[in-house]
Symmetry: C2
Subunit: 482 residues, 2 copies
Amino acid sequence: MAKKGKQEAGITVNKSDDFSEWYTQVIQKAELIEYTGVSGCMVIRPLAYEMWEKIQQFFDKEIKKLGVKNAYFPLLIPENLLKKEQDHVEGFTPEVAWVTHTGNSKLKERLAIRPTSETIMYDSYKKWIRSYQDLPLLINQWCNVVRWEFKHPMPFIRTREFLWQEGHTAHADKEGADKEVFKILDLYAKVFEELLAVPVLKGTKSDKEKFAGADYTVSVEMMFPDGKAIQGATSHALGQNFAKVFGISFVDKDMKKKYVWQNSWGITTRSLGIMYAIHGDDKGLVIPPKMAPNKVVIVPILFKDTKAKVLKKAKELKKKLEKYGVILDERDDYSPGWKFNEWELKGIPVRLELGPRDLEKGSVMLARRDTGEKEIVKFSGLDKKIKSVLDDIQKNMFEKAKKFLKSNIVEVKSFAEFKKAIKSGKFVKANWCGKVGCEENIKFETGGAKTLNIPFSQPKKLGKCVYCGKEGKHLLYFAKSY
Amino acid sequence: MAKKGKQEAGITVNKSDDFSEWYTQVIQKAELIEYTGVSGCMVIRPLAYEMWEKIQQFFDKEIKKLGVKNAYFPLLIPENLLKKEQDHVEGFTPEVAWVTHTGNSKLKERLAIRPTSETIMYDSYKKWIRSYQDLPLLINQWCNVVRWEFKHPMPFIRTREFLWQEGHTAHADKEGADKEVFKILDLYAKVFEELLAVPVLKGTKSDKEKFAGADYTVSVEMMFPDGKAIQGATSHALGQNFAKVFGISFVDKDMKKKYVWQNSWGITTRSLGIMYAIHGDDKGLVIPPKMAPNKVVIVPILFKDTKAKVLKKAKELKKKLEKYGVILDERDDYSPGWKFNEWELKGIPVRLELGPRDLEKGSVMLARRDTGEKEIVKFSGLDKKIKSVLDDIQKNMFEKAKKFLKSNIVEVKSFAEFKKAIKSGKFVKANWCGKVGCEENIKFETGGAKTLNIPFSQPKKLGKCVYCGKEGKHLLYFAKSY
């Protein structure tokens, strides 16, 4: 094998100098993504996919506790069906990939590859829902979707095909639907904060930024290392909009015919990109222990005379620590230093170094990926130590990210301060009158700062709108965003 | 809610009188499938999808034990890439769904929705494989594929979009690859026989019937209730065919450059349809306990005076038996008889009937779905009884299906016998010279009997070819098939 030099394998730019280039390099060199001949369509490699499986396992279990069942709806949506709901259509049509031919035949009607499945699902829901006894109908699917965006693609963050779950539920009343919207948002917050160690801002999207066809959208928003905002996951109250268009009604206990109240909610593989971007450093990925398929790597320091003894002990340790997921890197033709770099690049939380002198002393050198700290640990206390270090890494990564987020939010009173803060890459917290005109002017005059979301807890008294000076309606976040 | 009459809800034909109509009715009335506006593209409803999840859980765990990792490759394959391997292209092009436009733009090159992912995956494999140390490369994906067949669609059995897993592996030598081909086939046999209670015929496909682009294909084949054969799952040895076309080579330990040996293997949602078709009866589905999301349904017999007492006990039982998955059907506006029919239609393995007189006696009436047998069981022995009944149902269903299969295989010596057996809807076991000419003539002269597969264990001495009378090369199965 042609040995790869450090030049080729390592990251050649600092995260703080050129975030975009840093991200692109990390994602590819850590073997998370492979590019294909189609721009924006990327391979999710096993290392990244294993992390997606962790999100799936967690979230799937939680929604099943709520009574949600998985199903699978067709990939291809007839054009007339996709276009049935007006707002929805306008939101998605420009990005639809169209199937026009099958084999050598031209189709009579074009078929859209689903950009989202509201229309194809609700066409079935109207057949399934007759009575209040059929409600709530709680269905989810894990699948791929295609949105042919024309902006520059970015692995995980902006891809033309991505994986997600989409939950689509129908309820007998607004109260039941509303309750679920927030319950799901809390689960998304849990995925980000507890698994991915990424702090979130929860709140309600403005009307301009909500989902096409929804009554309202709540979201979790995060801060990218470059100060831009990114939407992590969304939960939509669709109200009765789709129900009326698709004719989804039921006979209630009072024998009256009513339209159902619907929600839809989703989290995508973008979440992985957010995690990689936020935690990574100049050496590469830093994976939170709860998301790491392998939490420990053992690198034996091999010399000719002591190789057998050291390897024997290393294998023993690997077996003993199996429950954490352990890689034992016993490759002959790589130096320990090269191996350290590789596993740091891939973000494994804990590295154990074991050489002949460690062996004599009955200990290993333990290195933490998050802080780089090293510590000598006796074999006898190793299991316990690793457990506590992993807990500490998970906690530390979250705290660090939270500190970064908090220190980059600036609350402003004037539009001059607003512009200055946005220019210096901050999130702005400011009062807003709620008018779309101000929202659009702010966006235009700041070169793109959008409303992120309106926090659920609002002060009792609000100041004036930061743009027009009229009565403030919400205190909320603004930022440039992905 | 408008109560559905028995007429509408139940199956209106006998399985033995009109299998095709019976199947169509069962699949839809048991709420496994919903049709959409696109012919051949169907919704997999929660009840069926839960069963697919059971197959996924089992198989995913088994392949992970073998070191296989999951990943995700793009849905869309550029036309030039799909057409790179000649045999492969001929096999799939007539059925490809083509994306030609995105948004309002026409694409420069058409994109195929994957009918299978060999080409898109191997285009990456050539970048990832350099050294023997990169082998074996063992990757699987769970995904949707589209094959626009023009034959009449049949739920689960022949659909234009279906779900599957596709494993794609690369090995340093033929031995390693061969070993895996059979290991995977054994896993597929286990899925069918142990989970789905469906007996299989294992063997090697003829060259004519093998996968487009493979050296050889092994398969598990089953018998449908109408006597037709159906292919359950396949494992392909691709040899070095794709490796040479895609340039997937590695430097071996001896420093020589070699092409990899590749396999691909898949099982699809068709497996569910096979299970439904084989086990169902005139009342509807019969689900093997290992595949049933809910193994027990409790139907309380409710009278005004005793309702509260009976429901209380029913809830107690539900809680106690939770581990089996239990439905307690406490709906008011349906009669017990109506409920019996509904749960029989949906195939729940065990039904418990609980009325006031049962309560007095401290027992329930237990009814088995497979045999219809009823038995009074004391509360105290219920848990143990259910466990043993479920085991027995699983075993009984498999044995019954096996008996059906065996009793419908006829070994013949002459082509006259052959034609007679095929005409009466049997599988034929016969000697064959191995020539494709005979295979094609047999198919033509019998109105469609194909070679299924060649069992791995062959007699030491073979008789003459049943068609041409020359030296026999294999003793194998023939049948009309789906």
